[in-house]
Symmetry: C2
Subunit: 111 residues, 2 copies
């Protein structure tokens, strides 16, 4: 009976995990990179660069939206996807933090 034990962890940790989970699929990494490089961001544009069906890509976009890293503005019938600068900043901080932890480790010896 697996219930959401995730809530038992500290909020910081939870949010970091949400970010990394969002990045935990190659399709979503590609989407992120694409959105960072271009500013055109309709579903069709994005799915055409991925080896996946359009609906699947849509689902990955939803996943990214849930993490907050990506925003979707509704523009007529289409949804216009783009990165959320604030959350992207947060992601950067989280990564820099992890890199710090890693660097500390490098000084000591592994078992």
């Amino acid at each position: 009976m697996p219930s959401a034990k995730v809530e038992l962890f500290e909020t910081d940790l939870q949010e970091s995990a949400v970010f990394f989970k969002a990045l935990g699929h190659p399709a979503r990494l590609m989407i992120l990179q694409f959105l960072a490089e271009t500013n055109s961001c309709f579903t069709g544009d994005i799915s055409s660069i991925l080896p996946l069906g359009r609906t699947t890509v849509n689902q990955h976009l939803d996943e990214l939206k849930k993490s907050g890293l990506v925003q979707g503005h509704i523009s007529g019938i289409k949804t216009n996807y783009c990165l959320n600068p604030d959350k992207i900043d947060d992601l950067k901080s989280v990564m820099e933090n992890i890199i710090g932890v890693i660097n500390n480790f490098k000084n000591s010896n592994c078992c």
Copy 2:
């Protein structure tokens, strides 16, 4: 019929995604931090700092082992878990790479 489409992506991207997937749970983030800070690394030690059962923690350790970030040396009956310095370095590179992509984005305007 969802088959492993992950293979359709470039190897680099796949490996990055594997790392992030491994970090995509607060328990695994805590384990990683713990292993970076201390060098004692038996299951009992680790599960005692987490709000999860021992067997669940073991499962998360397996997940981390599958990503390569964590190694498990068998020492008698116990398994001695520790970080894999090479993979940790890889993770660092991947993160620095993403930070680079993010920084480029910051210069342009979102939609």
